[in-house]
């Protein structure tokens, strides 16, 4: 039998996921409910079948995800039989940090970056799987599969460990932790092809449908609940839209699209001339902003 490109990617990821089990004491899989997380979760199931993956899932919640994401999250956790840990930064809740009043940068820092650090420290996880891919962004393209963080969860991009062949050195000093990216060598197209091939359930927001949106700062923002207050001159329109990435709904732009099934999404992707992170407000803050966030502990 011949292995296809997807078969090879799958095998490489399974190898990485199993290797973590040998190198880490207390691993956790970060689960963001997006398409990459869904693929990573399926790979973990494959790696350990018929056992369930021997680590918990963790969702660092910001309280601003799309409602449809919460529904999928709870259903998936039930189906896989894995423990699901949900962590929300309690300081953020107390101060009611939100993207509208505090802006995307502060909201992301407090609720995602600080929230993640708190959660990892709280449960003593020494290794966290993330679904990041090298084709997403320039600083990601530089990151190792096993990526080290010091005791304050900082990444030192100038001093990464050599990582040869598929020999991953997961040894670390007390206080240090590792982020592991099993999807490093996947592209966005690979992810979609795999979801299609494996019939992996994903959040319906990836498919085009008539949805209420407002246009704000050049971005189509979906009206997901009544916490969105219209500014003067804004009006809610119903448009046929879908999302290429999912995050906090006020920070995730929709694109107008007719792609209401997997085939059409793939077709749209093949014709695309706009890369996927454009929908995220976080990256356009400043040049090199992703690297800065990662150094501070953003996943």
């Amino acid at each position: 039998m011949d292995m296809t490109h997807l078969d090879r990617l799958e095998a490489e990821s399974i190898h990485i996921i199993r290797e973590v089990l040998a190198e880490a004491e207390n691993p956790v899989m970060l689960y963001s409910i997006g398409k990459d997380s869904s693929v990573m979760l399926r790979l973990a199931e494959k790696a350990f079948y018929p056992s369930p993956p021997p680590f918990p899932l963790m969702h660092v919640d910001t309280r601003w995800k799309f409602q449809a994401m919460y529904e999928v999250r709870d259903k998936i956790a039930e189906e896989t039989g894995m423990d699901l840990i949900v962590h929300v930064n309690p300081e953020g809740v107390e101060k009611n940090i939100n993207p509208f009043d505090h802006g995307s940068a502060l909201h992301t820092d407090i609720m995602k970056t600080q929230g993640l650090k708190q959660a990892l420290d709280k449960y003593g996880f020494d290794c966290a799987f993330g679904g990041a891919r090298r084709d997403e962004e320039k600083s990601r393209a530089k990151e190792r599969v096993f990526s080290f963080r010091n005791s304050s969860h900082r990444w030192d991009p100038k001093n990464q460990r050599p990582e040869l062949w598929n020999l991953y050195n997961g040894r670390k000093s007390p206080g240090e932790s590792v982020r592991v990216f099993p999807l490093s060598n996947w592209t966005e197209l690979d992810v979609w092809q795999y979801i299609y091939r494996e019939e992996i359930p994903i959040v319906p927001l990836y498919y085009a449908a008539e949805r209420p949106v407002v246009e704000r700062d050049g971005m189509l923002m979906m009206v997901d609940d009544d916490r969105l207050k219209l500014l003067p001159g804004e009006k809610v329109e119903t448009k046929r839209v879908r999302f290429r990435t999912l995050g906090c709904y006020p920070l995730t732009g929709a694109i107008e699209s007719d792609a209401d099934n997997m085939q059409k999404i793939l077709l749209e992707l093949l014709e695309a001339r706009t890369s996927e992170r454009q929908g995220r407000a976080i990256d356009s803050d400043s040049d090199g902003s992703m690297e800065k966030k990662k150094q501070e502990g953003y996943f």
Binding site: A11, R18, Y49, R134, K138, P162, L167, S173, Q193, R273
Partner: protein, 626 residues
């Protein structure tokens, strides 16, 4: 609708039949590696519009091309890289043409980042080695070529870049190419394809250049689309290192791993190495599917038809054609750490799914990367490439790297910093582990211990010169002797003047000194003695090596702790005074470090406590079984 489905399915079918080429770009600083990749992505129309907009913005800010788009900014993703206009770490980029998918690793040219280049090269099938037409091949070009060759890359495109700066002059190009081919003769490349190019202007990258009518070979992209670099080991014999034993309940016991070569089918007989037990394949599982066979590169879970002792680190192999098992090897080594590699030092060695203790037993030579000459190797410094022998503390299954990358590659890991300090490739075994069965003697350590009426062990004193090690050891030996314990003291006087008279005080000699002392102590323990060693033994790594050699439980580390000021004030032998005058180079505490033990069995405070108190403290801790 149906049209879309058919089209997509057809497209996916085509896509899944495309093979993947992983290649690296390497060469010296400023030869234009990042620019080349930017150009490739741009021409393959893989740079999306929003990225081009961001790029144009950045080019104005950091760019080195006036107003033009600076393609290097596209791959140099770290802030420090953009500021300095250099590449620090390897970047992986993805693109595809109608013929192939590509993962390209753009590697840094600076010597200090050579380890990052090796990282990229270790997974590459082919290399594009760039040479600046205005400069010719430089030391770094040669070093990278050599590393590519050592890591098993057999297909090379020699991209003579910046041809626009030499007016596309054929003579300049010919000279660079013939010089390089001469240099590369001893390297293990199957083929070298020279291409005259300008990454900046796009000549011979994707489009054939009108400015090089004298060149008839392929453009870079057509070379990459056609180079036959398939590394699949599907036709080799079956090997699968076990990663994890899957035991959800009592009825299921599966061995999870990736097949690294060959294939295996249900019913085939396999052998577990190193134990040698044999069993047959019952089932091959990939998620909910049960497979007829598994092939090279597939990650599966295998069940066997009978109970065998098999766990992580063991290797399943074809039963009639097993791998060699050995514990001593000759290896090629690329050193990647600031702290040099020393003969006699002990490291963690990770190969496929095994981690064992390893000692560099001999540094045979290192290479002058410009001339391939063999140089003496007192140690292996950062970026050195050399040949060494290495022994591990338990036999492992392996293949020579040349015939099987997965079974012949390893990394060395520092025990203290946990850094990956070296990459290595096994050439061959120095002896087969199965040939080293030691003669089993009837009178052994246990028998001698019964006769002596006490256990044997080593009391390893460590501390600064003048801390009182010898005085305490002497007083302790008198007490033990009086109690009928058979003892012996190893110290500078009886070792340095005889066994170790050929050793000086360099770091390497100090390491060898301690190794020999530990070996002698081990023999004496076997002879039934309580051995007292009294040496400064300043390095933690060597004391741990001695501990490993002797064995846990028979090694008592005694830290004779006196502050430097106190030891220097006493200065019984006048050594500190001489060292301060510079007459004794490498003197511990003055110009050579003392690494205090982290968890000594006995911690003496000889600055405050008397010798008698110290001796009593040791006796209270000792367990001699009498």
């Amino acid at each position: 609708m149906n049209d879309v489905t058919t089209n997509i399915d057809k497209y996916l079918e085509e896509q899944s039949n495309l093979d993947l080429l992983r290649f690296i770009t390497c060469g010296s600083v400023d030869d234009g590696k990042s620019t080349l990749i930017g150009r490739l992505l741009y021409e393959a129309q893989l740079i999306f519009e929003d990225q081009v907009a961001a790029l144009t913005n950045e080019s104005k800010r950091h760019g080195s091309q006036g107003g033009d788009i600076d393609f290097a900014l596209l791959v140099d993703g770290l802030a420090a890289e953009r500021e300095q206009g250099i590449t620090i770490d390897v970047a992986y980029r993805f693109f595809a043409t109608d013929h192939r998918k590509f993962i390209v690793a753009d590697t840094p040219g600076h010597e200090q980042y050579t380890r990052n280049m090796a990282t990229g090269a270790s997974t590459a099938d082919a290399a594009v080695i760039l040479v600046d037409a205005t400069a010719g091949a430089l030391t770094q070009t040669r070093r990278h070529s050599f590393i590519c060759s050592q890591l098993g890359i057999r297909h090379v495109a020699l991209a003579v870049n910046k041809m626009d700066l030499v007016d596309f002059d054929k003579a300049t190009y010919d000279k660079i190419v013939s010089d390089y081919l001469e240099f590369a003769k001893p390297l293990n490349f199957d083929e070298i394809s020279p291409i005259p190019m300008s990454a900046l202007k796009g000549d011979n990258v994707v489009e054939r250049s009108e400015k090089t009518p004298w060149y008839t070979g392929p453009t870079l992209i057509s070379y990459l689309e056609t180079v036959d670099a398939n590394q699949s080991l599907i036709d080799e014999t079956f090997r699968m290192p076990i990663q994890w034993v899957n035991r959800p309940d009592r009825t299921f016991r599966g061995f999870a791993g990736t097949v690294v070569s060959g294939k295996i089918a249900r019913g085939d007989e396999v052998r577990v190495l190193p134990s040698g037990e044999v069993a047959s394949i019952q089932d091959i599982i990939l998620y909910k599917d049960s497979l007829e066979e598994a092939v090279s590169d597939q990650a599966v879970t295998i069940t066997l038809d009978r109970e065998v002792d098999c766990s992580r680190g063991d290797v399943l192999v074809a039963s009639m054609d097993p791998s060699e098992v050995a514990d001593q090897f000759e290896v090629n080594i690329v050193w990647m750490d600031q702290e040099p590699g020393h003969h006699g030092r002990s490291y963690w060695l990770k190969t496929s799914t095994t981690r064992v203790n390893a000692i560099l037993t001999d540094l045979k030579y290192k290479y002058n990367v410009n001339t391939m000459e063999h140089l003496a190797a007192p140690d292996l410094a950062l970026n050195d490439i050399g040949v060494a022998t290495l022994s591990v503390d338990k036999p492992i299954a392996f293949e020579p790297y040349d015939s099987n990358r997965s079974m012949g590659s390893f990394v060395l890991i520092d025990r203290y910093s946990n850094a990956t300090v070296a990459a290595g490739m096994i050439n061959f075994a120095l002896r087969r582990a199965k040939n080293v069965h030691q003669q089993k003697l009837v009178v052994d350590k246990a028998a001698r211990s019964v006769l002596n009426n006490h256990k044997s062990q080593v009391l390893w004193f460590t501390g600064l010169s003048g801390a009182g090690k010898s005085a305490i050891a002497d007083a302790l030996e008198q007490k033990l002797h009086a109690r009928g314990i058979r003892t012996y003291i190893l110290d500078g006087d009886n070792v340095r003047h005889g066994l170790n008279q050929d050793l000086g005080f360099s770091d390497n000699d100090r390491i060898e000194n301690i190794r020999r002392i530990a070996e002698v102590a081990k023999l004496m323990i076997d002879a039934g003695l309580v051995v007292l060693t009294s040496f400064i033994s300043p390095f933690r790594a060597e004391r741990d090596m001695a501990r490993q050699l002797v064995g846990e439980g028979e090694f008592v580390e005694i830290f004779v702790d006196t502050p430097l000021e106190e030891a220097e004030r006493r200065d019984v032998k006048g050594l500190y005074a001489k060292a301060r005058k510079g007459e004794l180079p490498n003197f511990t505490g003055i110009d050579s470090p003392y690494e205090a033990p982290l968890n000594p069995e006995v911690h003496l405070h000889s600055g405050e406590d008397s010798i008698d108190v110290c001796v009593q403290q040791i006796i209270d801790t000792l367990d001699l079984g009498n």
